[in-house]
């Protein structure tokens, strides 16, 4: 067996390093593409060798790193991380293809950063040691910061700093929580360890419920701010909007907040001082994000900003599903992460294409684009429909699972959140109608459709959206296996 | 302890006398000497011409360099004194001799440095 987990980090990282030293745009893009394809190959290899019927860690590797602190370099893949790795590995080659023909300065850094980002995100997904986890967690900041800061829109400086400081503070607070966990468990067992699974398992043995709450809350704060959900989201619209298209897509692929929720917070949740309260809080945050995101999206004039807020709304489903805390609602939340990554990639790519061709993103300045850009319109339609949860597309599966099964535990919240479906449908269709259909806005001049590479890359993703809408099992199976494992911990406690 | 203080009591007496003597002498002079006033008597002497400007002018920086060199080497001597007094008849070990040579040797580097840099030359 190949050491797939390590290779998944190393291959993009090495390609990124080489890409940084390329001279021309062609070399950079080519190398980037090669790197992402290699990663995709590795991922497929891992996927094919993956046993989705068990919740245990597979492809496990561990090397001693700092023994005096109990730090090991240990990585592995399970049903929580596999779909997200898959998502990353699938989207990034197409992202590179999508931006193949764009002209920008310093292409070597651009593609290098994309690959670095991929490595960092996969690193977070495969890490089984808190220190390794945190290192990759922080590493994701750097490429995104640069992405926004170099190639972003007009307010890129402001947006990049806001994003950087905001999420960095959140991760530091999470780090404090990790420290608390580490020392409390050290005291408990007498041996230092940074192993995620062991620390999570030790969590329930801590005596002081105050300590447990403090640790849990500070860790989950980091995840929620990264996700983000309602009160911690203020970096999101700026960063998503100001980022270049590839940056926005990378933001979408940054599923580490939700991943942390499933990997670390949910198994700990039943053992906190007052799980009921926390579940209700999470449900509240999720619901609020759904409704708030949808409402604000409705008001947006900027197409990209609207998509950003709709992304916030979608993230609410992740939290709501997690808070539902039964196997199917949690796997719904996981699936939401996966499908959201695909859908939003299409949407941001479309928005990017519209901006580059027409020079504007303001919905009111567009109009009738379907006549001049039929291919784009079709693809964007697929994205929008999936985003609003049309049955037969992947978005529907996720939302359906979340709504249906969260209702068991959190009926009130779900009923409230159902409101948002209407609004979501409303703003999506309204935006579509204004931007793509109707009379062509002559001011936009003579514009042409997206190029064939873009069609190809967006088309493949759209096809995947449709495919997973009909047959979610390839990823849903492993999600359910793991969700059951997570939830069974809580079931024992009667939550 | 008291022996040390005792040996300084005469010093105190002498110091007192030394402090008193000049003022007393000058007091005597004041009463013995004649007095006559003339403007020219109270100017400073500048080879007979009228003094110009103040005498409190800046002086050559070389004085400073000498002062520093002096301080350095005088302190060296300061450390040598206690060592010198115990050199004989106190069973001093060869290591103390070696250490003192090392000390002087290190200072010698400084000395050569000063010399080569011209700090010991009056007119550069």
């Amino acid at each position: 067996m190949l050491p797939v987990a390590s290779l998944l980090i190393l291959v993009p990282l090495i390609f990124a390093a080489v890409t940084f030293f390329t001279k021309t745009k062609k070399q950079a893009a080519g190398l980037g593409f090669l790197g992402s394809i290699a990663t995709l190959g590795l991922t497929l290899y891992a996927y094919l060798n993956f046993d989705s019927s068990t919740a245990t860690i597979q492809f496990f590797e561990s090397i001693e790193w700092i023994p005096s602190l109990g730090v090991n370099y240990s990585v592995g893949i399970d049903g929580i991380s596999m779909p997200l790795i898959l998502l990353n590995s699938i989207v990034i080659p197409f992202l590179i293809l999508y931006s193949w023909k764009e002209d920008r300065e310093a292409p070597n850094r651009f593609y290098g950063l994309i690959l670095t980002m991929q490595a960092a995100v996969i690193g977070v997904f495969v890490a089984l040691d808190f220190l390794v986890f945190y290192i990759f967690w922080e590493l994701t900041l750097i490429p995104l910061f640069f992405m926004v800061n170099i190639w972003g829109g007009e307010k890129r400086v402001h947006a990049s700093y806001k994003f950087f400081i905001y999420t960095h503070v959140a991760s530091l607070i999470m780090l404090l929580g990790i420290f608390g966990l580490f020392y409390a468990s050290w005291q408990q067992t007498g041996a230092p360890s940074f192993d995620i699974r062991e620390l999570v398992a030790q969590f329930k043995f801590f005596e002081s419920s105050l300590l447990r709450d403090a640790i849990f809350l500070s860790i989950i704060f980091g995840f929620l701010a990264k996700l983000p959900v309602f009160p911690f989201h203020s970096w999101l619209p700026d960063a998503y909007t100001e980022a270049p298209t590839a940056g926005s897509v990378l933001f979408i692929l940054l599923k580490i907040g939700g991943y942390g929720l499933f990997r670390i917070s949910l198994p700990m949740l039943p053992n906190t001082g007052s799980p009921e309260l926390i579940i209700n809080m999470l449900g509240l945050l999720g619901t609020f994000s759904i409704v708030y995101g949808a409402l604000v999206a409705l008001r947006q004039k900027d197409l990209k900003r609207m998509i950003a807020y709709s992304s916030l709304s979608h993230m609410g489903f992740v939290v709501l599903g997690s808070a539902g805390f039964i196997a199917l609602s949690v796997s719904g939340a996981m699936f939401q992460q996966f499908s959201h990554g695909l859908i939003m990639s299409i949407l941001f790519m479309s928005a990017g294409a519209i901006q580059t061709t027409t020079g504007t993103r303001i919905i009111n300045n567009l109009g009738g684009l379907a006549k001049r850009m039929p291919k784009l319109t079709v693809l964007m339609m697929v994205g929008f429909m999936a985003s609003l949860g049309l049955p037969g597309l992947s978005g529907f599966i996720a939302e359906f699972l979340v709504f249906t099964f969260s209702y068991v535990n959190l009926p009130g919240f779900v009923l409230f959140a159902l409101l948002a479906i209407v609004i979501t449908a409303g703003y999506h269709l309204w935006a579509m109608q204004r931007a793509m259909f109707g009379v062509y806005n002559a001011k936009l001049g003579d514009i042409s459709d997206i190029n064939s590479l873009q069609v190809f890359s967006m088309g493949v993703i759209a096809l995947l959206v449709i495919y997973f809408g009909w047959n979610p099992n390839p990823v849903l199976n492993m999600m359910i296996t793991n969700s059951e494992a997570i939830v069974s911990l809580g079931a024992a406690l009667g939550v | 302890m008291s022996g040390i203080i005792d040996s300084y009591i005469p010093v105190a007496i002498f110091l007192f006398v030394a402090l008193v003597m000049p003022p007393m002498t000058m007091f005597m002079v004041k009463h013995l000497s004649p007095r006559s006033k003339a403007a020219g008597k109270y100017t400073t002497y500048e080879s007979g011409s009228v003094p110009t400007g103040t005498a409190r002018i800046q002086f050559n920086v070389e004085y400073y360099l000498y002062a520093i060199a002096f301080v350095i080497f005088d302190v060296e001597v300061l450390f040598l004194y206690p060592w010198a007094t115990v050199y004989k008849g106190h069973g001093i070990t060869s290591i103390a001799v070696a250490e003192m040579f090392l000390f002087v040797f290190v200072l010698l580097f400084g000395y050569i440095y000063l010399w080569k840099k011209g700090a010991l030359t009056w007119v550069k």
Binding site: - | V61, V71, D74, V75, L78, F79
Partner: protein, 100 residues
């Protein structure tokens, strides 16, 4: 025997005078003089303690500190001299290129 308190009192007084001087004077030379005063008050302390505890460490210490004070003054004067050549005065108040 003179009580230890007298030495300590004198030393404290000298030290305070030195400290006051350092804080109020802006002239470099005066500051060095005040610092020397502070160092010497510490030496006085050391020697007084040495005689009252019947240990020699204090006297040895005082000797070293005298030597160091001399070296310190040498370095300080060198710096002030260079400043004087540039600014024609050594008022600390008037040296304010570097701030905030």
């Amino acid at each position: 025997m003179i009580p230890l308190g007298f030495y300590l009192g004198l030393a404290a007084l000298l030290f305070s005078i030195g400290l006051y001087g350092v804080m109020t004077h802006k002239n470099g030379i005066r500051m060095i003089m005040c610092i020397e005063l502070m160092l010497n008050s510490a030496n006085l302390n050391l020697v007084a303690f040495s005689s009252y505890t019947n240990t020699l460490d204090g006297q040895v210490f005082a000797m070293f500190s005298i030597a160091l004070a001399a070296a310190e003054a040498a370095v300080g004067f060198a710096i002030f001299m260079a400043i004087y050549r540039m600014h024609d005065n050594i008022n600390l108040d008037e040296l304010n290129i570097l701030r905030w």
